[in-house]
Amino acid sequence: MFDLSSKQAKIVFGLATLAIGFFLFFPLYWLVISSLKANAELYRVVPTPFPTMPSLEHFVRALTTGKLPMYLTNSLITSTCSAALVTLLALYAGFSFAKYRYIGRQPVMLFMLSAQMFPFGLLLISIYPLMSELNLLDTRPGLILSYIVFALPVSTYMLYSYFSQVPDELIDAARVDGASDLRIFHTIVIPISIPPIVTVFLYSFMWSWNDLLYSMTLITSEDKRTIGPGLLLTYLNEVNSDWGGAMAASLIASAPIVIAFMFLQRYFIQGVTAGAVK
């Protein structure tokens, strides 16, 4: 796009690349490097740019002495369940919006989408007593249901945009053969929609995996706590700050979502930039 044959252009371009690149990648580098430094090297006023004596002690400690494995398991359970629930709901709703023409379809859809802009913190004020009423406070089902807030609107819109592209002829042909709408959806439409479905699943999984606010408020007992508040309360509390442990635990907690994302990022970017709110 830019012509970098002149020396001046090379310098400006190179400096911009270095500046933004440094800002973007140095924190990640520092996370990895710090997690590998033993405490003697970590707590130095003039830090070493890379570990002189790499050590896995923080990782071992995070996995053996802390409650990290339990937080990870809890996050895995709640995030998987809520992502499955959101995907299932969004699947049928998205298909309904894309392929049927009932009165009020577009206003209802826009209204649902605009709900993504209701402040999550404000919703929580009323979700809390609601969950308390239903006896779901401090339970996994309660948290899983609450996570619908984060991803249902955008997920529905993403699947709607995709299903809109499915040719009507495909559906009409199957209907002529006598197949029911549900059957057509399950046996013809869903099999050709795997990439967007996976995208939506990952999108809602990511929201719940990364959440701090809802989990911190709706879950009070430690054995159900997820990684967001779990990490915060374990590593940075009033009495101690274990930065090495925090860095190692951060890497462990980020691994599942980063790995999933790396495999699926192409679909993911398409889905999110096509119907994104956040």
């Binding site: 003039v46 913190g121 009323s126 915060l232």
Partner: protein, 310 residues
């Protein structure tokens, strides 16, 4: 969406996209398919939203069994509460700085990542990482960089001779604001970059080549061709950025807890504290209502663009 519809990266818009769909008789099935999501939406999103709006007219604190209707009294209290005004002011600064910072860095990085070079694909993928990290993790990373005793920022600035003593960044109002803003800018760059890259795909390269033949330099190409082309994406990214930044809670709470004192207490933190630390539900809801009002203009702009795009 208008912005992306004519490039191949996003879903291609097929000629069937807006055609009649299925026949009228089948609409009952369509409504049936919508029902589960509509019920979930009504119960978990719409009802809590309306109920929170309603609670803003009630007094409801931790000592009370039932909320008591007090009309607009909460709003009268807010009008004379300097803490709430301060939260609005802090939010405005936070949203302005984060949105502007991400815009510059995100656009810059997208332009760089649009330039052909070896290893570009890998670098693009790696650029997305800050986006997917849990918010607590982002807060840890930046908290450690800004650490007053062992933080690499102090070491770096002292090495450059810009400061003489280590600074307790997170204990000063400006330092804490800088930290929460940089954290948010850092984790929003990937999303902004993705939007700009999607927009750049549909740029007419022949038009730029023609301009170059006419003697246009890099600045002229950027100013007269690239930026005008990106205008719609720019608008949507700013609107989405403002909406997201107005709502940001996790990284701020984990990094500073809204402090020192109240220096980084934005509206989200203010509402959370009033509701779940002081259990003054009615007052928190009233602040939340004003928060929603602040969100309305960008939300309206966004929806209008969406409708036009459809």
């Amino acid at each position: 969406m208008a912005v992306i519809e004519n490039n191949t990266l996003a879903y291609p818009v097929s000629p069937h996209a807006n055609r009649g769909g299925l026949k009228a008789g089948q609409n009952r099935i369509g409504l049936l398919l919508l029902l589960p999501a509509a019920l979930a939406f009504a119960a978990i999103i719409l009802y809590p939203f309306l109920s929170a709006l309603g609670l803003s007219l009630f007094e409801y604190t931790v000592e009370m069994m039932e909320p008591r209707y007090i009309g607009a009294e909460n709003f009268v209290k807010i009008a004379s509460d300097p803490d709430v005004w301060a939260a609005f002011f802090t939010t405005a600064i936070y949203v302005a700085l984060t949105t502007a910072g991400t815009l510059v860095a995100g656009l810059g990085w997208a332009l760089i990542m649009n330039q052909p070079f070896a290893g570009r694909g890998v670098l693009r993928s790696l650029s997305l990482l800050p986006w997917v990290l849990p918010s607590t993790v982002s807060a840890f990373i930046w908290g450690w960089i800004f650490n007053s005793r062992y933080g690499v920022l102090n070491a770096f600035l002292m090495e450059l001779g810009l400061i003489d003593f280590p600074q307790a960044w997170l204990s000063t109002p400006q330092g804490a604001m800088l930290a929460v803003v940089l954290t948010k800018v850092w984790l929003s760059i990937p999303l902004f970059m993705s939007f700009f890259l999607a927009g750049l795909q549909s740029l007419d390269k022949e038009q730029i080549d023609a301009a170059r033949v006419d003697g246009a330099g890099n600045w002229a190409v950027l100013r007269d061709h690239i930026l005008p082309h990106l205008r719609p994406v720019l608008i949507i990214v700013v609107v989405l950025g403002v909406i997201g930044n107005l709502q940001q809670f996790d990284t701020i709470y984990a990094l500073t807890g809204g402090g020192p004192v109240r220096a980084t207490t934005v509206l989200s933190v203010e509402v959370y504290r009033r509701a779940f630390e002081q259990w003054d539900i009615g007052f928190a809801s009233a602040v939340g209502v004003l928060w929603v009002c602040a969100l309305l203009p960008p939300a309206f702009l966004y929806l209008r663009m969406l409708v036009k795009g459809n």
